[in-house]
């Protein structure tokens, strides 16, 4: 059947069971938007305040649902506004298809109005990208994009489509949804040999990252932990894979990781690393990471093996399938002495409460209790993010959304909107700080337009807390540009957007505001005053080791 480009785009979206997209219209995508108008019963399009918000919404949608997020933007500034959202998805391996319009083929390369070479701009932050030059290539290019986004290690793919292609006509033949098969053992050392190393270990530890989520390997990790009696620690991206209260779960590793996790890894004789890239926030000093241990690394991405930390054994393959095979070779075991030692490593960081502020831990405790085990939490970036990672009662991997790799301030609001729309859950909790919130708070209009039940909890210390914390510890308390004297009235601004607004300075006020916000069933902002001097602890300075942990 003969269809025009815009019709083909919508058909391929439908082939891939896309029923939700985020975006913002403009000149070069008018044809596509006209087609979306005709198909609004099949695909719901959500317009955000800014394309960045749309890209984060597609990302949040993908992380919360496991489906591929789709974002659509016009040429030029529409496309460049996606860049931060695409890079965020790339660094955290989130499947996303970004479609951008471009000027007509005859205008390309002439610095035309709203023209930009977005394929060139996004080359380093996409798994792959395409410029569609011929209408005949359009359908298969889009299909490829969906396939690449989900294959092996997921990630974003961009397809740039000149305006004339969206109107040109070609033959369209329907094809089935793009799917991929999991790759089991691609390359690496003998699994029996690796199992032998694990079976002989006296002080083993499992350390896993976000890829465990993508590969649904959480249950197998749990099985191995219980079978062989091995403690585990994880990156921020893997929060919730294990229950927060599982005794073998030592919590976060790295810069703001638990003392127990960091000391356990440091003292271990075998580290089984699953789907983590040993980033500089985890292996702060790569040469000194688990110096006494035999390192085993399992990753779907061959280039991650030996990239940051040199390992002794490696397996390239999907975490779930590789662990499934490995689990059969691992013997039941007991490591009582080791756990006894680990218990001596445990150290709680003290905190004080009172005055005209609420302690961040109290906020996280109250939120965990209110949200229950199904609550979805989305963070921005900074101190509040670390407190959320440390103190929330994580129980499900897909319920904690955070920008771990790129560290994108302003990620949270859009992502929370995407997560709420994708899952239909009410409410979704957006935990933010006054710095991050100011970056994309304009998305309140999106939440109000569609009555998306996102509750934004803003930990307000009137400072860029994480920057200020570093300046306090490492820069002689010279608070350069980290104390903007903002006079934002959060209640008024929220109300101005048409959302509910609350401000609180005590636990009681916060609880009351939270109850009210949850009951209202729509978007709300809750400003919580916290102490400006509050720091994220424990902390290992960049490049440091367990010997450098700052406790108080």
């Amino acid at each position: 059947m003969k269809l025009n480009g815009s019709e083909i785009i919508v058909k391929v979206l439908l082939e891939n069971e896309v029923d939700t997209i985020f975006g913002y219209p403009g000149g070069c995508v008018l044809n596509i938007y006209d087609e979306l108008y005709k198909n609004q019963d099949k695909i719901t399009h959500y317009i955000t305040a800014h394309e960045q918000g749309a890209s984060h919404a597609a990302d949040g949608y993908a992380r919360a649902t496991g489906k591929t997020g789709v974002v659509l933007a016009t040429s030029g500034p529409g496309a460049t506004n996606l860049v931060t959202g695409i890079a965020t998805a790339y660094m955290d391996s989130v499947p996303m298809v970004a479609i951008t319009g471009n000027v007509g083929s005859s205008l390309i390369g002439r610095d035309s109005f709203q023209e930009v070479y977005i394929a060139g701009i996004t080359m380093p932050i996409t798994k792959h990208n395409f410029v569609v030059r011929k209408i005949e290539d359009l359908a298969d290019t889009l299909r490829q994009a969906f396939k690449i986004a989900i294959s092996d290690r997921p990630g974003p793919v961009l397809v740039d489509i000149p305006k004339d292609i969206t109107a040109a006509v070609a033959e369209y033949e329907p094809k089935p949804k793009q799917t991929v098969e999991k790759k089991s053992f691609i390359d690496g050392d003998n699994l029996a040999e690796i199992a032998e190393v694990i079976n002989k270990a006296k002080k083993p530890v499992i350390f896993f990252g976000g890829g465990v989520k993508n590969s649904n390997a959480g249950d197998l990790i749990k099985k191995i932990i219980e079978k062989a009696n091995i403690p585990a620690t994880h990156t921020m991206m893997a929060s919730g894979v294990l229950r927060y209260d599982m005794p073998e779960n030592l919590g976060l590793l790295g810069m703001h990781g638990s003392v127990a996790a960091n000391r356990t890894v440091n003292d271990s004789d075998v580290v089984i690393t699953v789907a983590s890239r040993f980033s500089d926030r985890v292996a702060l000093s790569p040469d000194k990471f688990a110096k006494k241990a035999t390192l085993i690394q399992i990753d779907i991405d061959q280039s991650e093996i030996n990239k940051n930390v040199k390992v002794d054994y490696s397996v390239v393959g999907d975490a779930e399938t590789v662990l499934g095979q490995l689990e059969k070779l691992i013997k039941e075991n007991k490591h009582e002495d080791w756990f006894e030692k680990i218990n001596s490593f445990r150290k709680d960081v003290p905190y004080s409460t009172g005055g005209n502020t609420i302690h961040p831990k109290q906020i996280m405790d109250i939120l965990s209790e209110k949200a229950g085990e199904d609550g979805i939490f989305v963070t921005d970036v900074g101190q509040h993010q670390m407190w959320a990672a440390q103190y929330l009662h994580h129980v499900k991997a897909e319920n904690f959304l955070t920008s771990g790799g790129l560290g994108t301030m302003g990620y949270g609001y859009g992502a929370a909107i995407g997560a709420a729309i994708g899952t239909g859950k009410s409410p979704v909790y957006h935990i933010t700080g006054d710095g991050s919130f100011h970056m994309n708070m304009n998305e309140a209009c999106t939440a109000v337009t569609y009555n998306v039940p996102v509750i934004s909890i803003c930990l307000n210390n009137n400072a860029l807390g994480m920057v200020r914390q570093w300046q306090k510890i490492f820069y002689g308390q010279r608070y350069s540009a980290s104390e903007p004297d903002r006079k934002t009235d959060y209640v008024k601004v929220a109300e101005g957007f048409g959302a509910k607004g609350y401000t609180c300075s005590t636990v009681e006020e916060f609880k009351a505001a939270l109850d009210d916000a949850v009951n209202c069933g729509g978007p709300a902002w809750i400003e919580c005053h916290i102490d400006r001097e509050e720091r994220v602890l424990p902390m290992i300075p960049g490049g440091g080791t367990v010997d450098d942990i700052i406790y108080e």
Partner: protein, 164 residues
């Protein structure tokens, strides 16, 4: 630091060279030289990259390159079992006083004269990059007016090493 030649087969698409060089730039890998052209299978291009780094860096380069969607195949060229060649064109100033010396050096290297103008000669030399380096070194006493090199290109001896 290890000097390595990589022979990479990629889809002959627009932008593939940009993608490859962007990857090298992004990750801080060296490109000492690079040559690229379509192969006998016109859907493929062969890129020969001369690069250098520690063994770990070379492994990273290889593994990152393999992730390119348009990647079709690659091998590290074994210098002992390969034919590595580069082309040099060099324009040297000369007059009646130094011409014979220049011709003598050039004939030792079997450099071909491809143009003679008033005051200059253009030589063409093909060979291993080291031979070209050595020839250029021996031209030190002369004035090189212009020069260009193609970068190395290479094939392994014997059986076909790599197809799509």
């Amino acid at each position: 630091m290890k000097k390595t030649y990589l022979s990479v087969l990629v889809d002959n698409h627009e932008g593939v060279l940009t993608r490859l060089s962007s990857l090298f730039c992004q990750r801080g890998f060296n490109i000492d030289s690079l040559s690229v052209a379509a192969t006998n299978d016109e859907t493929l291009s062969r890129v020969t990259i001369a690069t250098s780094g520690s063994e770990e860096e070379i492994n990273q380069i290889i593994n990152q390159t393999k992730k390119l969607y348009e990647y079709e195949g690659m091998f590290e060229i074994d210098p002992n079992d390969s034919l590595i060649r580069e082309l040099l064109l060099v324009k040297v100033a000369c007059d009646s006083k130094n011409r014979s010396g220049l011709l003598e050096i050039s004939s030792i290297y079997k450099a071909k004269i491809i143009d003679v103008s008033v005051g200059s000669i253009v030589f063409e030399l093909t060979g291993k990059p080291a031979k070209l380096d050595s020839y250029i070194q021996n031209l030190e006493g002369y004035t090189i007016l212009e020069m260009c090199r193609t970068g190395a290109t290479a094939l392994q001896r014997g059986d076909v090493k790599m197809t799509k």
